[in-house]
């Protein structure tokens, strides 16, 4: 990559002595400009998170002071206690975690099975079944949302039940597509042939031989699915109708209004910060893996 900069430098005027000097400092100016622009953008991207953490430690008086205080306040403990007057925060947290983990595990199983079948087997109907799978990705969630809700509530009786958030999306088309790309690129077909010759059962080939090789893929796709589940809003908003069953995003929306004390930005921001922190940690710990995973579908597709 080191050659990119020098290679895109205009070289048409190099015969002129004045422009030779220009081309010498031009890359430097450009580099400064680029870095300054990126730095401002990075600051704007990250600042709201800093602000969230600062406000979460401040009292209402501190928040509503003029000029604003840019450093942490001393009201963290009180804010923390006030959260529980509105929502059972840790119960909501546990709901989100349980739904997220079970949903992710199930989705990883189904997606890797599906992706493996599409990558490794040449079965009749494979091409049009795969085309159908891709086509389902174009359907917006709205199309069937009303009957989806009727199905969940009236026929399956899944209102206030975890199943409603775990089962319906457990085998995502995107996940299968993604796994197929990964398996096609990383698992040689000879491996299957060798296992078959050794008399390995078809199911053991996948669960004993292939699945362990997919660990990096499980990690990358797992993070994506987990974040999606943790952040989901409309689904839980529709099916969870009791405070104790709310997932974090729905619970947070209640924090805007304390029935006794009215609006308190400090309490709101502390709840938001506590709900966001796990995702920030997961993301910062696995950024490379996450982004590598994210772009497989986009670039190779």
């Amino acid at each position: 990559m080191a050659s990119t900069e020098s290679s895109v430098r205009p070289q048409t005027h190099t015969a002129h002595s004045t422009t030779v000097r220009r081309t010498r400092w031009q890359p430097l100016v450009r580099s400064l400009l680029f870095n300054a622009l990126l730095l401002i953008g990075a600051f704007l991207s990250a600042f709201p998170f800093y602000w969230m953490f600062v406000l979460s430690t401040q009292s209402t008086q501190q928040i509503f002071s003029w000029p604003p205080q840019f450093t942490p306040g001393d009201n963290l403990v009180t804010n923390y206690q006030n959260i529980f007057a509105i929502i059972p925060f840790w119960r909501n947290f546990a709901n989100s975690a349980f739904v997220g983990i079970t949903h992710t595990v199930l989705a990883l199983l189904f997606c890797s099975m599906g992706g493996y079948a599409f990558a490794m087997y040449r079965f009749p109907g494979r091409n049009w079944l795969f085309a159908l799978l891709l086509a389902t990705m174009m359907i917006p969630w709205m199309a069937g949302i009303v009957p989806w809700f009727i199905l969940i509530s009236k026929w399956l009786h899944w209102i206030n039940r975890y199943e409603a958030l775990i089962i319906p999306g457990a085998a995502s088309a995107f996940g299968i597509f993604w796994m197929r790309q990964y398996i096609q690129e990383s698992i040689p077909t000879e491996l299957l042939d060798a296992a078959r010759i050794d008399g390995c059962h078809e199911f053991s080939i996948f669960f004993r031989i292939i699945a362990p090789l997919l660990t990096p893929a499980y990690a990358a796709l797992g993070i994506m699915i987990f974040i999606g589940s943790w952040n989901g809003f409309l689904g839980p908003l529709l099916v969870m109708q009791e405070k104790t069953m709310y997932t974090l995003p729905v619970a947070l929306s209640l924090l805007r209004q304390d029935p006794r004390r009215g609006f308190d930005a400090g309490v709101l921001m502390l709840g938001t910060a506590l709900a966001t922190l796990p995702m920030l940690i997961v993301f910062l710990m696995a950024t490379r893996r996450f982004m590598a995973g994210l772009t497989i579908g986009a670039v190779k597709g």
């Binding site: 290679s7 895109v8 990126l38 599906g114 949302i145 999306g169 709101l268």
Partner: protein
């Protein structure tokens, strides 16, 4: 099925037999893909078909459904709020995506250039907004947008401008507020996708361009953009769906009515309002169908326009 044909061309009777044979031989594959197709049939395909049926009915979920023909669709055409919400959604989507896609491309191009170090740091920073929940970031922004004590208004007054009454008046600042949040949230995601595409471009092309004396601008418009077309298409299709189904952020910022003069009411919010607050299941289904049809139509248009690729790179 094409594999069967190429595996030697047996006579028709044998081929019919061997199709069954092939299916039986690969039965495990069908087991592996069955979870998706079963779950899709139950939670995807069935609701979509039933939604179509519902769109010709009047039903509040309790009484017996009534068949009313095209009445829901006719009502939809005359529904002022529906068209308002449609206009809001398209406006927010289009205005937000010009800086999102344009900015993402420029940023990706910049980060990809050798003039920039700490690429990993920038990628992480720009991606941060996408991994956090839309509800959480909307709440953070709602405090930033605070009218009397919000940070943005403080900065504005410090710079000598008038503070902005984000939610009040006739609601003229509601859409900008939603758009700003939308841009902040999605710029990084698109940038990462574009960056991955840029890194897939053969560096030799740039070297050849340099030998031919191409300027930075020429390189960008003549080499980078054409090669990026499939990836731009990918982001366009996802952006269309994302923008047309926008719900979480405006719902959290201005509530289900969309704030003053319904200025922040999007189609998804209106659908939620009619379908789940008022239990007008039939009417909401008709709306869902019309909007979904529009989304699929625009996506197909995108694919036709950007997808006729002369670039298989």
């Amino acid at each position: 099925m094409s594999q069967l044909a190429t595996a030697g061309s047996p006579p028709a009777t044998v081929r019919k037999f061997s199709l069954w044979h092939e299916m039986r031989r690969n039965w495990v594959a069908y087991v592996y893909i069955s979870p998706f197709f079963i779950l899709f049939a139950v939670f995807g395909a069935f609701p979509i078909v039933y939604s179509f049926v519902l769109s010709f009915q009047q039903w509040n979920g309790i009484s017996t459904p009534q068949w009313i023909g095209f009445e829901n669709y006719a009502r939809l055409l005359q529904d002022r709020l529906f068209w308002l919400a449609m206009g809001n959604t398209v406006f927010i989507g289009v205005i937000a995506h010009i800086p999102i896609l344009g900015g993402a491309m420029v940023l990706a191009f910049i980060i990809n250039s050798a003039a920039v170090r700490f690429k990993h740091f920038y990628r992480s920073a720009y991606f941060l907004p996408v991994v956090t929940s839309p509800v959480a970031v909307s709440l953070v922004f709602s405090t930033l947008y605070g009218v009397r004590f919000g940070l943005i208004n403080w900065v504005l007054t410090w710079l000598g401008f008038q503070p902005i009454d984000w939610w009040g008046g006739s609601g003229e600042w509601i859409k900008p507020a939603i758009i700003l949040l939308f841009i902040w949230r999605w710029l990084g995601w698109n940038m990462i996708i574009y960056l991955a595409g840029l890194q897939g471009i053969n560096p030799e092309l740039y070297e050849v361009a340099a030998i031919d004396g191409a300027s930075l601008r020429q390189v960008f418009f003549k080499i980078t953009l054409p090669l990026m077309r499939p990836i731009i298409l990918f982001t366009l299709v996802l952006s269309t769906v994302g923008a047309m189904t926008l719900f979480d952020e405006p719902y959290m910022l201005v509530g289900v009515t969309g704030g003053a003069n319904n200025a922040g009411l999007t189609i998804a919010m209106y659908l939620y309002d009619r379908g789940f607050k008022f239990a007008h299941f039939g009417y909401a289904s008709a709306m869902a169908y019309v909007v979904s049809a529009i989304i699929v139509f625009v996506s197909v248009l995108n694919i036709r326009f950007f997808g006729r690729s002369n670039t298989e790179a």
